[in-house]
């Protein structure tokens, strides 16, 4: 593995999160669109997506979207300002700061719901 | 494989690329053969500047530059060469600017200039701002700019081709044989004219500013054929080599105000050159440094070096004007020049001597100015003789462009009226035989060990100060090493990138130029410029105001002499 620094990891993560989001997007659109074929079809699909595996996966997707969005803003700053490039490392740490700031409350809200729904409590 | 070109240039450094460009401007087909990739040549390591009397900062005239060059060369400089040089280098610098070279600028937009060793106004009154520069990477910018122009004009390059022979028959140059590193194949090149621009041979010494590749290949190839080398006793030791590696720290550091100090912090150059002090010519500064160390005023646990002090300069000056040397000091010595003085000692740097040429770069075969038709040389490999007994700082870069241009243009003009010569079917035979012999050698002697011994011997016996006794030892040592060289062993028998084979060949060249050097040193019984004989401490114009031509005939080293071209400036005592 090439021993790159923050920039390389920011880029790799941006790619991986992007691909993950795209995959989810395709499935998600088909899932939602299935409603066209009536309530039955829709419900049977939702039954699959409501099992614990996919609910946890959705958490991952939310994280991926959040990172991709924040790092995307970092990229825009780098592309259009001189200081964005100069402070790209600091910006990346800023991305992670904001990520935690948004993601942790989301987890606090969602994780108990998942636990409740799955254990049937 | 066989190739044909109108003009072949050997070497892709400053003089080679200049020669190639100006030859191409004449409308002939030019090819450049280099043992390196383009832009790897050692011109790129030149730092401080290129001297030309532009007069951008203060009043300056080419006559002053001419005088400085001659006086710097301790009157061994051919004055016609110095005159042409001082005039044409102005035009050459402007042409480099027009090619795009990013010189540093003055507030009025003109090329900035700085002070440099031995460059004075009004014939020696005070130091003058003459060196046009691009930070401390002027050579890098010259090399890049020239290569850019070669790309623009789409010149042919044979990269990583080691020239193994120049085919000369009856004083006519007919072609070149070269070894392709990538494949191990031998190539023959037919050419109407050949320009040799292959650089110096600093690797003969242990401590040198020169690249690993500067092994005097072409000097040795011609010397082997019985052709003479001129003024080989004059080899320059640059005062400020980063101790102990010998990496060059530009004289521009002193041009910007740097000061040399001994163990007591004394600015010792005041005693040796009261007028221009630290900006005295290199031979004088190098000797002063050696004397300080010898007299116990050296610095460090072994008192074996002195200090280059830049700490009194504004940090901004150092960062802006001397960024590269600051980095060298930091990386290789852990010294920050803005805070601490830098340890320095003289380092083998530049050959004033080399292949004798006319003012147009034509190679001379003897003391009667007999020419070798179609063979040219320029740059450090050549001896016009512009630098005489000691080259001034910045004059090497000027030399490259001025005499590279003259050689390239002359070669192209010659090629236009010449025919390609037929080469004998086995033109590459001798090269092949020698290469095969080295490749298949399996003797006991290690190339690396022999080279190290040679470098140590040259360092011990043919350095800044010389005596009969030391030089005699040097002659003996080189002869012994040559004998042992016949018994080397090479492990790599392969065809592809056989760099071990190449290094073994290069050691052979080094031994030959070293032989020419030590014999020349022993032969000249006077002190002049960079050649300081302690047993003959005075300059002797009566007997020795002449160029020496060393050559080898039937295995014996012998000498011829050539008068110095005098003129405007009478030889005088050389004080600063």
């Amino acid at each position: 593995m090439y021993r790159g620094r923050e920039g390389q990891w920011a880029f790799f993560l941006h790619r991986i999160s992007g691909i993950a989001i795209l995959l989810y997007l395709l499935i998600h659109v088909l899932n939602i669109s299935a409603a066209m074929w009536g309530e039955e079809a829709s419900k049977s699909l939702f039954a699959i997506f409501h099992i614990w595996f996919f609910r946890l996966g959705l958490l991952g997707v939310i994280g991926a979207v959040l990172y991709h969005a924040l790092n995307g803003l970092r990229i825009i700053l780098m592309d259009f300002t001189g200081w964005g490039v100069k402070y790209q490392r600091e910006l990346w740490y800023g991305v992670w700061g904001l990520f935690v700031l948004f993601y942790v409350p989301a987890l606090v809200k969602i994780v108990p719901e998942i636990v409740r729904d799955i254990t049937g409590a | 494989m066989a190739h044909q070109h109108d003009v072949i240039v050997i070497g892709a450094g400053g003089s080679g690329l200049t020669a190639a460009l100006y030859a191409a401007k004449q409308g002939v087909d030019v090819a450049v053969i280099s043992k390196l990739y383009p832009t790897r040549s050692h011109t790129g390591a030149a730092q401080g500047g290129i001297g030309a009397a532009l007069g951008n900062v203060e009043e300056d005239h080419w006559e002053w530059h001419m005088f400085d060059t001659i006086k710097g060369g301790d009157y061994l400089t051919d004055q016609d060469a110095a005159e042409i040089f001082a005039k044409e280098v102005i035009e050459a610098v402007l042409e480099l600017e027009h090619m795009g070279l990013p010189f540093d600028r003055l507030p009025n937009g003109r090329i900035a200039q700085r002070r440099f060793g031995g460059h004075t106004k009004e014939y020696g009154k005070a130091a003058v701002h003459r060196a046009a520069h691009a930070a401390d990477r002027t050579g890098h910018m010259i090399l890049q700019t020239l290569y850019q122009q070669c790309v623009k004009h789409n010149l042919t390059f044979y990269n990583e081709f080691h020239v193994t022979d120049v085919i000369i028959e009856d004083n006519v140059a007919k072609g070149v044989v070269a070894y392709e590193l990538a494949t191990g194949e031998l190539h023959t090149f037919q050419a109407k004219a050949i320009v040799i621009a292959s650089g110096g041979y600093g690797r003969a010494w242990k401590v040198t500013s020169n690249a690993f590749t500067l092994t005097g290949d072409l000097q040795a190839i011609l010397y082997r054929k019985g052709l003479p080398l001129e003024d080989m006793e004059f080899y320059q030791f640059h005062p400020t080599g980063l101790f102990p590696l010998g990496i060059l720290l530009t004289e521009g550091a002193r041009g910007e105000g740097g000061i040399l100090r001994n163990d007591s912090g004394e600015r010792f150059m005041e005693r040796y050159a009261p007028t221009i002090k630290d900006l005295a010519p290199r031979d004088m500064v190098a000797r002063a440094m050696y004397l300080e160390v010898r007299e116990g005023r050296g610095v460090g646990p072994r008192k074996d070096h002195v200090l280059l002090d830049l700490t009194h300069l504004p940090a901004e000056t150092i960062h802006k004007k001397l960024p590269d040397i600051s980095e060298f000091a930091w990386i290789y010595q852990g010294v920050d020049p803005t805070k601490q003085p830098v340890p320095v000692m003289p380092t083998a740097h530049y050959a004033m001597g080399g292949i004798p040429t006319t003012l147009s770069g034509e190679v001379i075969a003897d003391d009667k100015n007999t020419l070798i038709a179609g063979l040219y040389a320029a740059g450090e490999v050549a001896c016009v003789s512009l630098h005489g007994a000691n080259r001034l700082g910045t004059n090497s870069l000027g030399d490259l462009v001025v005499f590279g241009r003259r050689a390239g243009t002359a070669a192209a003009k010659f090629a236009k009226s010449a025919e390609l010569h037929d080469l004998s079917p086995d033109a590459s035979g001798e090269s092949r035989e020698r290469l095969e012999r080295v490749r298949n050698s399996s003797g006991k002697e290690s190339v690396a060990a022999l080279r190290a011994e040679l470098q140590q011997a040259m360092q011990d016996y043919a350095s800044v100060f010389r005596t009969e006794e030391l030089l005699a030892k040097g002659v003996e040592a080189v002869a012994e090493l040559q004998e042992r060289y016949k018994n080397i062993g090479v492990q790599d028998k392969g065809e592809r990138y056989n760099t071990e084979l190449v290094e073994a060949m290069e050691l052979g060249y080094l031994l030959e130029v070293s032989e020419a050097t030590v014999h020349s040193c022993l032969n000249r019984k006077e002190s002049r410029g960079a050649h300081a004989r302690e047993d003959y401490p005075e300059r002797d114009d009566k007997n020795w105001l002449k160029h020496s031509l060393v050559y080898r005939k039937n295995g014996k080293v012998d000498f011829m002499y050539k008068p110095v071209v005098l003129g405007k400036f009478e030889p005088k005592a050389r004080t600063y």
Binding site: Y2, G82 | P38, G109, E495
Partner: protein
């Protein structure tokens, strides 16, 4: 102290694939990796092939992948690569360029990309008798990119370049930058042709490996971003 020098070696005439070979080398902390390579070549295995010339970071011959990072072998010191005696220093050829032998790679693709950006001053106006004028500020505008020694450390550190090599690469863009931002140059539009193509600047994904790898401390990514903006503002 002893260190282990682990070199990725390859001779296409002898083996189908590259492989690691380890050498025990006596090293000083201030030794360059280049010194270690020389020690191996001179005293252990003469067949080891690598390029070098100036030995102090000016000629750009000896860029290689040292301990997983592109560096010049003559500027990488043992003390910065090892913590204690016995540590291992790994040396590999540059990535993304065809390996010819051991640490020697084919530089031709790299120089082809260099040529594609027209790396020379373009200005057809007849030059004045004296120098063209340029203010110190205009000169400073492209100063960093004039430092480039064409060692290929940046281009071959780029994750985009590694796989299919069709990206023109950071070094060529830095060369373009050197001229586009030179107040004396008039050839920016010509250069934009190669730079705006699908293999040009837009392939840069700002991974910053080039900037980290540059032995001349050129802010390479910044130069690339400036070229992107120059093209953008030229079109809109």
């Amino acid at each position: 102290m002893q260190v282990t020098l682990k070199v990725m070696r390859y001779d296409p005439n002898k083996a189908a694939k590259p492989g690691w070979v380890s050498y025990q080398v006596e090293a000083e902390p201030m030794d360059r990796v280049l010194d270690l390579l020389h020690k191996v070549k001179y005293f252990q295995d003469g067949t080891l092939a690598f390029r070098r010339s100036c030995g102090h970071g000016i000629c750009g011959s000896d860029a290689m992948l040292i301990n997983g990072k592109n560096q010049l072998a003559c500027k990488a010191l043992v003390k910065d690569l090892t913590k204690k005696a016995g540590d291992t220093i790994t040396v590999e050829p540059l990535r993304g360029l065809p390996v010819k032998k051991d640490l020697v790679v084919d530089m031709d693709p790299f120089f082809d990309a260099y040529r594609a950006v027209k790396p020379y001053l373009i200005n057809d106006e007849p030059p004045p008798d004296r120098e063209r004028l340029q203010s110190p500020e205009d000169r400073a505008r492209f100063d960093a990119s004039t430092k480039c020694i064409l060692c290929a450390a940046c281009t071959t550190s780029c994750p985009v370049f590694w796989v299919n090599g069709s990206y023109i690469g950071p070094a060529a863009i830095v060369q373009a930058h050197r001229f586009i931002f030179d107040s004396r140059d008039r050839g920016a539009r010509e250069r934009f042709q190669a730079l705006a193509a699908s293999t040009g600047v837009w392939r840069c994904r700002t991974a910053y490996n080039c900037t980290e790898a540059c032995p001349r401390e050129i802010p390479v990514t910044q130069a690339i971003e400036e070229v992107k903006r120059a093209i953008l503002y030229d079109k809109f």
